[in-house]
């Protein structure tokens, strides 16, 4: 659970002007549950033994999007599902670090922080959290996520890594060239996948027997889904 989770929003136009942040310096207006929250301004006190000042003026992208979308939805009642707010667990802002201003764009998803600063993308995983309740913990959610795919993990562990064929990309299955019980040689085509107009031939890495086929032609699969189990 992040601070960017959906909150009730009043139907009213939202000004996107950043002028408002002038009034809210040093106040924590990203208060969860406060419907007026639009901007956050964070000041960090001097850390012991050093003179680093860090200022954050971060607009809450998600809240604004949601508010605007609700507002538009109220005005134009046609196709309301088409103007649903887009899920954005995102924030952008400017930080002052010494004599530099740093513009950042950040996305927090599944306990992973992706950060764009000065043309470079950095990824951080959230290793610990002070959250006392396990339900909302990102790392816990991650475990749940793995739990859902337990069979996937097991099958990978149960046989040696190369003996399962996993989807190297999200996409759909075009055709399957083998049947359960078939013996295949190294390099033999097992199936064809398609994603974004790109066709991909998936081949056996070593000689094996097809133990189980977990997909069928036309089916859509996610990245790393186990498609075929070999033995």
């Amino acid at each position: 659970m992040s601070m960017f989770k959906p909150r009730p929003v009043k139907l009213r136009p939202v000004t996107l002007s950043s002028d408002e942040s002038e009034d809210t310096i040093y106040s924590m207006s990203v208060t969860p549950g406060k419907e007026t929250a639009e901007f956050s301004t964070v000041s960090i006190q001097q850390l012991p033994g050093q003179a680093v000042m860090l200022d954050s003026k971060a607009s809450e992208n998600r809240l604004n999007q949601e508010a605007i979308a609700s507002y538009i939805a109220a005005l134009i009642p046609i196709q309301p599902e088409a103007i649903q707010p887009k899920e954005l667990k995102a924030r952008e802002g400017v930080l002052q670090y010494q004599n530099r201003l740093i513009r950042y764009y950040a996305v927090i998803d599944e306990g992973v922080l992706t950060l764009w600063i000065a043309g470079q993308v950095y990824r951080f995983e959230m290793l610990q959290t002070p959250c006392p309740d396990k339900k909302g913990r990102p790392e816990n959610r991650k475990e749940n996520r793995k739990g859902n795919k337990e069979s996937t993990e097991n099958s990978k562990r149960g046989s040696s890594g190369s003996l399962t064929l996993v989807a190297p990309m999200p996409g759909s299955i075009l055709s399957i060239a083998v049947q359960q019980g078939d013996t295949v040689e190294a390099g033999q085509c097992l199936m064809m996948m398609e994603s974004m107009k790109m066709e991909l031939t998936l081949s056996a890495e070593c000689a094996a027997t097809v133990a189980k086929i977990n997909c069928k032609p036309g089916q859509q699969v996610a990245l790393n889904d186990v498609l075929i189990q070999l033995s």
């Binding site: 208060t31 680093v52 670090y97 950040a106 043309g119 974004m196 859509q220």
Partner: protein, 534 residues
Amino acid sequence: MNKTSQQPLFKKILVANRGEIALRIIKTLKEMGIASVALASTPDKTALHAQLADEVIFLEGNTSRETYLKGDQIIAMAKTLGVDAVHPGYGFLSENAAFAASCEANGMVFIGPAPQVIEQMGNKVHAKALMEKAGIPVIPGMLLTLDDAGKQAEEIIPFVATPATLAAIANIGYPVIVKASVGGGGRGMRRVDSEKQLLEAVESARRESRQAFGNNEVFIEKYIEQPRHIEFQVLGDLHHQFIHLFERECSIQRRHQKMIEESPSVMLDVDLRHTMGAMAVKAVETVGYTNAGTVEFIVAPDGSFYFLEMNTRLQVEHPVTEMVTGYDLVRLQVMIAARQPIPFKQKDLRLTGHAIECRVCAENPLRSFMPATGQLTFFRPPAMPFVRVDSGFAEGDTISMHYDSMLAKVIAYGVNRQDALDKMQQALAEFVIVGIENNIAFLQAILQHPLFVAGKLQTHFIEEAMPLLLEHATPAKPADWPVDVLLTAGLLLEQNAQAAMANTGNGRGVFDEANADALYNPWFNLPENRRLQP
């Protein structure tokens, strides 16, 4: 050029495409005072191209086959809206002769060449023969007619090379390349350096082609070492005027798909440009081509060139030509379709400056360019002088697996190549994309590769330069990350954690006024090792 104050050339044009090209076409139609009709599949229901059009035909379904390729349904719906012309863009129905014919049969002008020309050029073997007859150089080659009856055969009849076949191949000269007759994307291609390797290469190319396309017909062609892919933009009108708008060099490819294109090509001097341009014009004259098209050539290091194929549509990379000639190709296409003459002569055209295009795609170059899907949580294309960005996406859009992985085309224009390269570097550095994997870092690595900078391009550039490119495109190790990045990350992660804590309990946020400072101090509860050390 047509002025908007004049009578519009058409009343309403259907743009039978999606994404950036649909958006780009609609913008020109608006300039010309022509109403536009867009197509939108279910995932594209709120896409930019559909937003900008005057009317939208909503197509239920996700895949191309269910939506943008349903020519009959699209034509029927367009007819009820009073559409009088159809622009097919690129891909989808753009090179479908039956669709073009059906448009015409239903009283709508197809903005492109005549259906029979599309068909003629669509068959690569036929097109090559036609060009050879017209005196245009083609790559020497031959079809291996092994088992004509067995094209769909389940079993492959083993290839037996007759002495005549072997002599013919020797006559072409090794190295040769074995290619599958159908399909594309580089599958079924094998390089053969000597007769000894021939048998195995043919067998494996046939096997792969059969598995992929259910057809095991292959042909043999002379293998050109260090080939460049250079194409000419051509135009033909209904008044028998044929013109070329110079070349585009498209040698930077991965998986046989173009990644970076530029005009002019450093390979061509004035004479070679003139010679190749004349051949391109001859090619379109031969088939009586109308509207915009592209004649593709393979160019060897010694300057010898060979006809490869003709694309009977607007190309993805058409903007580089627009930048160096100053002409809007879509506007010219519409004018030609309205039976107007091309508004200039060959001698009036000038190639000015240098333009480069980079295709920004949702893919992971570190994992052999696997396409990526996801959401464009942040999407801020660069905005700077002499840079054009063509994109069909807006921030927040979802990139689905059903369509092309191209997110945007960045086109930089400079007084010369180096100037254009510098501007492109700056543009890519400013391009903010967060939420989906993309090839920006990889494009930047190509742009600074010594061989690329020197203009020493060839179609195998990426595979040969891969080790160095990967080194440049791989993110730095965390230990080398700048302090400001770590600080920002720390701040955001802590804020997130604090918020998660504040959100526990009643499921609704609780703001504790008394502990506000402690709670929101990002360094609250921060372990020693994550604090910034002086």
